[in-house]
Every structure is written in structure tokens, then in C-alpha cells.
């Protein structure tokens, strides 16, 4: 009510960039997943800021959708993390190169 839309948008941008940098830099999959959460959260913040700017409930509805997505994604991601840990005994994302063809 006090702040203009630029302030939360800038915050969202900074948080998103932090998450992105970490996503690119970290090899530990725990941190990768956390980065994704940070980025999702930043996106949610932008939605809420936009909702505030226009005074409509759509921003918060989209935030709920993002929350949903984050929950579902994390559930699957964490299970995959556990499975990977069981199979490769490491959390190194660079070691998980099973996608590459054999040669």
C-alpha cells in the first residue's frame, strides 16, 4: 500500500538471479533443488506484486498455483534425489550423466 510496484519487482529480480546463479554454479543437487525453490518463490513474489499493483486477486491465485507447483516438484525431486543417492552414492549433479549415450 505504501510501496510502488518497482520495489517488490526489484526484490523478485534479485532473488531470482541469486537462485539462478546458484542453480548454474552448484553441483550438489540439494542446493540445485533449493535454487529452484528460490526462483519459484521469486516468481510468486512478482505475481503478488502485480496483483497489488492492479488490485486484483489473480496475483495471489497465481501465487497459490506456483506454491502448488513447487510442492509437487519438490516431492518428485526429493524422491529422485534419494534414488540417485542410492544408486550413485553421491549428490553430484555432474555425475548423473546417464542421459548420455554409451559411446
Amino acid at each position: 500500500m505504501i510501496v510502488s510496484w518497482q520495489a517488490p519487482a526489484s526484490l523478485a529480480l534479485i532473488l531470482f538471479l541469486l537462485g539462478l546463479a546458484a542453480l548454474l554454479a552448484r553441483r550438489n543437487l540439494v542446493f540445485v533443488l533449493m535454487s529452484v525453490e528460490i526462483m519459484l518463490n521469486a516468481a510468486g513474489l512478482l505475481f503478488i506484486a502485480a496483483g497489488m499493483r492492479w488490485g486484483t486477486p489473480d496475483g495471489q491465485i497465481m501465487f497459490i498455483a506456483v506454491l502448488n507447483l513447487a510442492g509437487a516438484e519438490l516431492a518428485v525431486g526429493l524422491i529422485l534425489l534419494l534414488r540417485l543417492r542410492g544408486r550413485l552414492t553421491t549428490l553430484d549433479g555432474d555425475a548423473a550423466v546417464l542421459l548420455r549415450d554409451s559411446s
Binding site: 542453480l23 548454474l24 549433479g93 555432474d94 548423473a96 550423466v97 546417464l98 542421459l99 548420455r100
Partner: protein, 618 residues
């Protein structure tokens, strides 16, 4: 009866086809019978036609038998037909009769060889092609025979194909003549474009009416056709193939590389002499080249040790004489020398073949000696041939024809006559060098006797060589003009005789040569020459004065270099560069697809960054 002329080339052709198809299935004896009899029948027919001709010449002194239309198109047509006129009549007689005797000789000479039937098939095919060449009424048909004899020559030079050298000699002979033939083909193309046909009489009439003497086009055409003739006739500068062609069996050398095929160039010029008269410059060129050839052949003949190479150079020289005659417009004299040369050169080759038959195919003259008593028949035959070749007065046909020819040359150009006399002197030296070395002195061992198939050709040819010259004699020996009278309707009247001092020098030169050869034989010079390792100059002469080396440097080596450079198809390499680039790119991209999460994220990031930057800052 004249209409049966088609049988003359057809019989040997049929023989060739028969032998080619039945080849391995029939006994050798039958192959020889087929081979010889087909040519023999052709010879008999040719003689029959000749007799009829002399009894009652057809109107216009020419007889044309059109056979079938080869090509008829709006702007070009060619008809296959056979033309008998005095020139072709003389030649078919020479070819078929001498051809028959050589077939006969071959039957014994080649006995026991592999590919006996193949040999006769080639030989028959050669005779058929040669007859077609001389009988053709159309330059394109003549070209068929022209290339046909070339191919047969190639096949026969390389007859003993297991030897790599024979193959190379055969290829060389074909390629050199092929180069010449391409020039001839271009000349033919010009004529075809100009006149729409290649019928010889039409072309000649057209040329006379279209082109003034001494103008550009007849010189070009005549020059190009002449190149073809020079190639076939082994004249400077296309002579290099002939000595190597001696790799073939000796009867082949006798027939193809002495008596008939190599004179095709002479025949070509005689046949088209009307065209050549329009190009005086070309005629001068012919004479000059011929003089060079005569000297070169005589000098090279002096130092050869292989008897066949001696004879090969002598062939080159004698054809040089014929071209000398052509150069001064003495068509009839050239034809007479052609016929007499065919007889005595066939005789020389056959007798040398008869000698080497008994010496396990030895051809080095210094490995022979004293054969006069051991092989009297071969000696007699070779001696007759040598006397004719050296043009010893009155004895053989060579004297009469050379006398006739040099007389005509003297009337035109005394300088060329001088060259001819020098050549005659040297000819006397080198051929008697061979005679003395082979047949006199210390003797080598030989054994065996000749069969009738050798005796008969040698005897008949020797008698013919002795008798043939009397058809055309100089004034002081009766002045017979039978030969030139026969040719007169086609080639015009006989040339005048030379005055007696000229004739005397002409007679003295070969005698002096023989005397010198004898003197050098007596003091053992020839033997020493054979034993010593040759010096630089002698090697130069032996190798035909460096033409081979020159051609190797300027044609063969660059060609082989090009072949080596291009062998792997550089254009293909260019296309393969594209392929390599694609494969390289594939490898790079494949490395990126490595399953590493961060790399994928990085690339996605880079892509979206690029997009965003483009959107924001554009």
C-alpha cells in the same frame, strides 16, 4: 566381275571373324589354312580384277561400288563404297599378294606358339582393314580402315603379351599414331563442314573450285591430314614408335611395319594429291621433313645392333624417299617406290626372320656370323633384298624405283637430290654392314631345315624383287613405262628422266657405300663396334637422336604428373570437406549432449539470455 571387289576385303574379314569366334576350338593347322587361304583367295581375286582391268579399263578409269548408306543427315552424309582406280588397284595387289606370302611364312614361323589362331585372326583383320583403307571412296570410311590397321598393329606388336616391354611398345605405337590421327580427324572435320560430305572425289572437286592454290584453308587441311600420314608412316617428328614396334613377331613387322601399313601416309597424299597441290607450302614441308627423315634414319641405321631395328630404320628412310618424291609432286614415282619397297622390304624381314628362326629368335647381328654357307636360302634372299634396298644398279627393283624417284627430285630441287644421294650412300653402308656381319666371317652353329612354307615366300619374293623393276626403266635401259602408264589416268604422265651424269652419280653412291662397308668389314671395324660399349654420340644415334627423351620430357612426364596429382579426384576431396565439416560439427555438438545438468541449464540460460538481450536492446 568388278562388282566382286567387295569380296577382296570381305574374305580376310570373314577369316578374321571365323578365327575369332572359333579361336580355341579348331586345330592350329586349320587356323593357318583359314588365315592364309582367305587372304590367298582375296589375292587371287585381286589379280583377276587387275587382269580384267588391264584388258578393258572401265570408262573414266575408275570403278565405284557403292555398298550402303552409312550416315545420311541433312548436313552430312557418308556412303560406304569401294573405289577401284589404278592407285588402289596397285595397292590391293601389293597388300593381298604380299599379305598372302607373309601368311604362308607365318604358318611355319609361328608354329607352336600360344595363340596361333589369334595371331591369324589379327593378321586377317589387318589385311581386311588395310584393303578397306585403300579401297575406300570416302574419307570417313578410309578413317575406319586407318584406325583399324592401327589397332591390329597394336594387337600384333603386343602379341607376346607376357612381356611388359612388348605391351609398352604396342601402346607407344598406337598412341603416337593416335595423336597423328586426331590431327587428321580435325582435318576431316573441316572438310566435312565445308563440303557436307567426305566423298573423296566430291571433296577434291569442291576444293579445287572453292579454294585458290596457296590459300589458307587447303594449307590447314592438307597440313592436318599430312600429320596423320606422317604418324602412320613413321616420319619425323612422329617416327619414334616404329623401331619399338619391332617387338612384334617378324612376319608382322614384314607385313605391317614395312610393306603395307606404314605406307598408308604415302597413299593418303597420293589419293588427295589434288588437295595437296593447292597447298604448295605443305608440299615443301613434306619434302623438307622427308629429307630430314632420310638422314636421320640412315645415321641411326648405322649403329643398330638388332637386325630388325636396322630394317626398321631402313623402312623409315625408304618411306622418307617416297615422301621426298611426294614433296616434289612425283606421285607416280612415289607409288612405284612404294610397291618395290613393299616387295624387297618384306623379303628382307622374312629372310631375317628365317635367320632368327634357326637361332632361337636371336636378333643381335653381332651374335651371328658366317651364315652364308649354313643358311644359303636365307642368305640369298637377304642379299637380294639388301641389293634392292641399297639400289645397286640393274640388280633389283630398288634401283629402278629409286632412280625414277631421284630423277624426279633432281628436276625439282637438286639440293634435296643431294640429300637423297647421301642417304643412298649411307643406306648402302648400313645394310651391307648387316649383310657382312651376319653372313660372313666366323660362323655360328645352326641346325634344321626350312619347310616349304618358308621357302616358297622367300623364293617368290626374291624373284619378284629381281623382276619387278623392269616395269619402269630409265631410258638407257630400255625406257619401259609400264607402271607409270598404268597410273597415268589417276596421277598424270611420267616424269622425265634425269640426264646421264645425274644417273651415274645415283648409281655410284650405293656402290661406294657397299665398298666402304666391305672395307670396314675386312679390317674388323664392325665387329669392334659391336663389342665396344657405345660412346655418347653413338648412343644418341641408337636412340633415334633423342626424340624419345624429348617426348618423354614434354609429354609423358607432365601427363603422368597430372595423373598422379589428380588420381584421388580433387573435386571429390572438396565435397569430402563438406562431409568432414558436417562430421566435425556433429562431434562437437555431441560432446555438448553429455547429460550434465548444469551444462544443459547453462545452455538454456545462454539461449534465453541471448533472446532477452535481443528483445530488450533492439
Amino acid at each position: 566381275m568388278m562388282r566382286d571387289i567387295w569380296l577382296v576385303p570381305a574374305l580376310p574379314l570373314a577369316g578374321a571373324v571365323l578365327l575369332g569366334l572359333l579361336g580355341g576350338k579348331i586345330p592350329a593347322r586349320l587356323a593357318a589354312v583359314i588365315g592364309a587361304s582367305s587372304v590367298g583367295l582375296a589375292a587371287a581375286l585381286a589379280i583377276r580384277i587387275a587382269l580384267l582391268w588391264f584388258a578393258a579399263p572401265p570408262p573414266g578409269d575408275a570403278f565405284l561400288l557403292p555398298l550402303w548408306t552409312w550416315i545420311t543427315l541433312p548436313k552430312f552424309s557418308a556412303v560406304v563404297g569401294l573405289l577401284i582406280d589404278p592407285v588402289s588397284l596397285v595397292l590391293i595387289l601389293v597388300i593381298s599378294v604380299i599379305g598372302f606370302f607373309i601368311h604362308l611364312f607365318s604358318a611355319e614361323y609361328m608354329e607352336g606358339e600360344n595363340g596361333y589362331a589369334r595371331y591369324f585372326a589379327y593378321l586377317n583383320l589387318f589385311v581386311a582393314s588395310m584393303l578397306l583403307l585403300v579401297l575406300a571412296n570416302d574419307l570417313l570410311v578410309m578413317f575406319v580402315g586407318w584406325e583399324g590397321v592401327g589397332v591390329c598393329s597394336y594387337l600384333l606388336v603386343g602379341f607376346w603379351f607376357e612381356e611388359e616391354n612388348n605391351g609398352e611398345a604396342a601402346q607407344k605405337s598406337f598412341i603416337v599414331t593416335r595423336v597423328a590421327d586426331i590431327a587428321m580427324l580435325i582435318g576431316i572435320l573441316i572438310l566435312a563442314l565445308r563440303f557436307g560430305t567426305l566423298d573423296i572425289s566430291t571433296v577434291l572437286h569442291g576444293a579445287v573450285s572453292a579454294w585458290p592454290p596457296g590459300s589458307f584453308w587447303p594449307a590447314v587441311v592438307a597440313g592436318l591430314l599430312l600429320v596423320g600420314g606422317l604418324g602412320k608412316s613413321a616420319q619425323v617428328p612422329l617416327q619414334t614408335w616404329l623401331p619399338d614396334a619391332m617387338a612384334g613377331p617378324t612376319p608382322v613387322s614384314a607385313l605391317i611395319h614395312a610393306a603395307t601399313m606404314v605406307t598408308a601416309g604415302v597413299y593418303l597424299v597420293v589419293r588427295l594429291h589434288v588437295l595437296f597441290l593447292l597447298a604448295p607450302a605443305v608440299l615443301h614441308g613434306i619434302a623438307l621433313g622427308a629429307a630430314l627423315t632420310v638422314l636421320l634414319a640412315a645415321c641411326a641405321g648405322l649403329v643398330q645392333s638388332d637386325i630388325k631395328r636396322v630394317l626398321a630404320y631402313s623402312t623409315m628412310g625408304q618411306i622418307g624417299y617416297m615422301f621426298l618424291g611426294l614433296g616434289v609432286g612425283a606421285w607416280g614415282a612415289a607409288m612405284f617406290h612404294l610397291a618395290s619397297h613393299a616387295i624387297f622390304k618384306a623379303l628382307l624381314f622374312l629372310s631375317s626372320g628365317a635367320v632368327s628362326m634357326r637361332l632361337h629368335h636371336e636378333q643381335n647381328i653381332f651374335a651371328m656370323g658366317g651364315l652364308r654357307t649354313k643358311l644359303p636360302l636365307a642368305f640369298a634372299a637377304f642379299l637380294v633384298g639388301a641389293l634392292c634396298l641399297a639400289a645397286v644398279p640393274v640388280v633389283g627393283c630398288g634401283f629402278f624405283s629409286k632412280e625414277f624417284l631421284l630423277g624426279a627430285v633432281w628436276a625439282q630441287n637438286p639440293l634435296l637430290w643431294g640429300v637423297g644421294i647421301l642417304g643412298a650412300f649411307l643406306t648402302g653402308v648400313y645394310i651391307f654392314r648387316a649383310v657382312f656381319t651376319v653372313f660372313f666371317g666366323a660362323s655360328v652353329d645352326v641346325s634344321g631345315a626350312y619347310g616349304v612354307r618358308v621357302i616358297l615366300p622367300l623364293t617368290v619374293l626374291a624373284l619378284a624383287a629381281l623382276g619387278f623393276g623392269w616395269l619402269q626403266t630409265p631410258d638407257f635401259l630400255g625406257g619401259a613405262n609400264i607402271f607409270s602408264n598404268v597410273l597415268a589416268p589417276a596421277l598424270g604422265g611420267a616424269a622425265t628422266d634425269a640426264s646421264w651424269p645425274v644417273a651415274l652419280i645415283g648409281m655410284a653412291a650405293p656402290l661406294a657405300g657397299i665398298g666402304l662397308a666391305y672395307a670396314l668389314h675386312q679390317n674388323g671395324f664392325w665387329r669392334r663396334q659391336g663389342a665396344a660399349s657405345p660412346g655418347l654420340f653413338v648412343r644418341f644415334l641408337q636412340g633415334g637422336m633423342g626424340f624419345d627423351a624429348l617426348y618423354r620430357a614434354i609429354f609423358v612426364k607432365p601427363f603422368l604428373w597430372t595423373v598422379r596429382v589428380l588420381k584421388d579426384d580433387p573435386v571429390d576431396q572438396v565435397f569430402q570437406l563438406l562431409q568432414r565439416a558436417a562430421v566435425g560439427l556433429h562431434k562437437r555438438l555431441r560432446e555438448e549432449q553429455n547429460g550434465k545438468l548444469r551444462r544443459y541449464a547453462g545452455w538454456m540460460m545462454a539461449g534465453s539470455l541471448a533472446t532477452i538481450l535481443a528483445v530488450v536492446f533492439s
